[in-house]
Assembly symmetry: D2
Homo-oligomer: 330 residues x 4
């Protein structure tokens, strides 16, 4: 395997706040500062940018300059359809005016994608869903989700749209909540330029086996992107990749390789209390070792064990490959 290219959401290098630490986990940073910090991570090639650019008014050209000096290019643009205007939903907002505003915002983001020659518009409808029983009409809710995405995809056939599903947060229940639900919706939309961005952490917090989710998305021709991190399986902790569930992450990469899926390996981590460069670097070290481990896998023996559903033998082969590569890492 050639080493994959590595990427990260630019928010990895921002600072955060939450409902308790309302003054933030550190000094605010604007997107230019975040890009310059991202540039310190060796082997980072691409970034996903929130849009509108955070922390000030910046032109696309200014952003590009900052990216260039850090040898970074743009893989995707994430329009912020989960901020104040959209807390009751973007595509599914009860107010038609807000739905229109979401559409306009994303339409504008399409031009930013074109400017940066990015791979896709990333849709993460984190506020689209519900909190309580009886709050919404589920049929309407789902139809609006599909209409919203479908309209964008058909109006912008030159671009790809990726939906990043997640079971919950910030909405207590999200409409695009699982891999199968999202594929089902995409098939209903029926356009070739809509796919999935599979976040490893979102999959495992939803009780999925992320490798199985990847296979399913690939079999439907819809795996357009991915990112990784880790968590304790019940919430999107966005911890450093490989820290808690190394074997499952390795299996996720294995399924990608097996299917000749050659996209960027991206990070979606939130180092609330850690140094962001050290956190990204540590994750990439894990990813590089995992890539090396894939080359060491005794594929024939593995598949032979899988043919018998022999978990212990299969795991032994996988662990050997992964741990030996990790053990050698610096």
């Amino acid at each position: 395997m050639t080493t994959p290219r590595f990427g990260a959401g630019i928010w990895h290098f921002a600072t955060y706040l939450d409902r308790y630490a309302t003054d933030g986990y550190g000094q605010p940073r604007n997107i230019i500062e975040a890009i310059d910090i991202a540039g310190q991570v060796k082997e980072l090639s691409v970034v996903d940018l929130n849009w509108p650019y955070f922390g000030g008014k910046f032109s696309d050209a200014e952003i590009k300059t900052a990216l260039n000096r850090n040898n970074l290019s743009v893989i995707g643009i994430t329009p912020e359809i989960y901020t104040r205007d959209f807390v009751k939903g973007a595509f599914t907002n009860p107010d038609a005016g807000v739905r229109r505003r979401a559409h306009e915002l994303i339409t504008d983001a399409c031009n930013v994608v074109r400017f940066h020659k990015a791979d896709y518009v990333k849709l993460w409808p984190g506020q689209d869903g519900w909190d309580y029983p009886f709050q919404v009409d589920y049929g309407t809710q789902w139809q609006r989700s599909l209409d919203g995405v479908g309209q964008l995809a058909s109006e912008n056939p030159d671009l790809k749209f990726v939906i990043e599903y997640k079971p919950r947060e910030p909405r207590v229940r999200m409409s695009f909540g699982s891999v199968a639900r999202t594929i089902l919706g995409i098939e209903k939309i029926g356009l070739p330029n809509v796919g999935i961005l599979l976040d490893f952490g979102h999959a495992i917090m939803g009780g999925e086996s992320a490798a199985d989710s990847a296979q399913l998305a690939i079999d439907h021709g819809r795996l357009f992107g991915m990112d990784v991190n880790d968590n304790y399986r019940s919430w999107d902790d966005d911890l450093v990749a490989g820290s808690l569930h190394p074997l499952e992450l390795f299996e996720f990469f294995y399924v990608l390789k097996k299917n000749n899926w050659n996209g960027v390996w991206q990070l979606d981590q939130f180092p609330f209390r850690e140094d962001s460069v050290a956190t990204a670097t540590h994750a990439i070290d894990f990813l590089k070792a995992a890539a090396k481990g894939l080359d060491r896998l005794d594929i024939d023996a593995l598949q032979e064990a899988q043919n018998r559903h022999d978990a212990i033998s299969a795991m032994k082969i996988a662990q050997k490959a992964l741990f030996s590569a990790l053990g050698e890492a610096e």
Copy 2:
């Protein structure tokens, strides 16, 4: 609303064992005894029968006699594709011979369905899945699931097949694990006689809103059956319906009514340590009150609140209807 008809899995009236109480939670009962106990539950009309009939060798005619004397008819037959022969899977077993055996068993069950003039063959592939990362090839696993069900459905076009999905147990990860995954598979199979049996408890243990799951299955024309119970959202405790999550169960019924879904309201409870007649009766009392509550719902006001996503107002209307009906119950 006319009062719905009530049903139950016949196992509700059996005794149980588990990996610890291997000598069982009570004296073993055979299926005839279970039917006679079921007959003591007033307002129970139909049962779902495990097959082969448990606890002895019984002819279909003997079963029918027992059912008749208890005024019960059969809604479905559940072939036992999760016992010793199938612990590594029925449809997805690594051994082609076992997959064939599963096919034969279910084919035989089809005749039992015909004998009893039941509505469907119920497929609950509880052992089809995996336990460990790297244990199976996910693509093969899923394809075999679809092939197995598809073959049966195409060979028996006179019958309906319902798949009861569940996230886990006994298999640590089940292939038919969520509503969307199951619909996706059914759409792939592409036959009209395959649908979903939606278990309320399986939905909520998987983080689904059961009412939303029902709407989705209905919108795909695939809601062929349902059953109810309750649990603490992380495991299939099969507790008495309405005990823990009354409002969500009420919403589930509301979505059925709203869509004119008129099937049987079934119980899938496991009263390990409780009297099974008392447990079934208590559940049906809840269900009857819920049905009465549906009639009281101020639908216009509810939909108006839902149009605004006004959770508090919508809930107030729903609670009023449900609790007032429950408060009057004997």
Copy 3:
């Protein structure tokens, strides 16, 4: 039962932000505005105030004026030991200077408690814990938690300190994470003026039966306060009380009554997207009905059923009492 007094955390009437909606779920409000909104909730008697007062510089006297005009008094003061300075912990911060700062902040909060003649200082050490394996020395971590609380309690023997435990959030793992852990710590501290504030939602998200937790805290003489809300059992959603788990909440109140625990029934809800007055009012309506339901409970019959561990009979009695009271509510 005389109707209990009702209270709320003043943050119930603030607006919120989170890591995604960084611009907030609404226009920022200062604490005076929040108090004036709280005043619109009929039957609200007391509030718990964050300190330092949010949204501006306000003197204790100004706050008191605002409270007075809304007929509110103060039950507790919550020093903000979870904001930027303390994101790596207050009592357990690795930096001795920060630990000292936390001590000083809380010491200052003690005077605010005295000024308002409140019942207690509320300690909610939401940042005290860890995120990753190997991150901390657990013995040191726990000892510092106990030392920090113990020092405050011994320096301020005229005041009560309540610890509000919670399994997680914002810290991925919190030191005071369960009722038993917190009691164990309090017993180790060994001072009479340290107790627990039991949050119903924190209990159930941790897999506790909140009524059992209350009994345990009471049996140790440490239940100093409580608040209620609801969630989907895996995260602190802070939804409206009674919405999802009415029977468990009713049981919680039952245990309080049974033990003659006569404190305030407080709300700790976060109506991110709902009207805060409507949300508080709806919760209080539930609480009033629950209080009425307690009066209707056939205690003798209930205890007789409990003596036999007869779940169905006991539940029937409890449901009857609760639902009939709820059904009558306006």
Copy 4:
């Protein structure tokens, strides 16, 4: 570090059944057969035996003969206080006669402990708890748990009693449900010969950090035993140790070593569908590598990182030690 001694529950080598595969996951085995299979696992030194011995009538002497020929000795005896007689509880059964029977059974087990010169009586009160709100009086329930254990410990001062806590299963809620709750109870009992057996899987399924739980039990002088396995954090899957959460398991061992805790490293795995010898051997291979990894840990650097709560640096040190040892394993 000298290599630890390894042990296993003898049930590791039995076959299982559950509520679905009621005919079992394989041919039944008696305890003698299980011992002979255990004997095939190289480096297994001790076993924990269920009592009464399963699968037939066997004298203590016959068991001893079987153990001797397999070079195994007994670490503990687990009286079966969770079978049919005790499904409504052993210590907390509502029926005083059943509570007495539990006492007698365990008293008899004490003599088996003496016969085998085992280290302890293991109490695993898996049926002691409740399923539903309002089912039990929590105060009575907890008092009976403490009385039952306390009486045994005071009647048998020559023996040690270990309580293996677990959040749930088979009971939906277990009385001894967490490490802190169990310590709290043990402190209340106040006898020196009652301690905890800490099961790694039970800790993580309850949301505990197992290493923290170990430290807490050690600090209270109550860590009398331990066993390991793995699971997906929400249920006691009893999968092979190290498969899913290697770093957390390594940290658990680290805390034991740091505190000079020198007991046996035991397995509590349920290889439902796997070969039991291969499963045990694979786990022990992991454990041996982990032991080697402990020797490689740069303790000074680790503690320095922990002093700063520097998660990334600490993890890097730990991962390096563990993965390099695992990478070299055969």
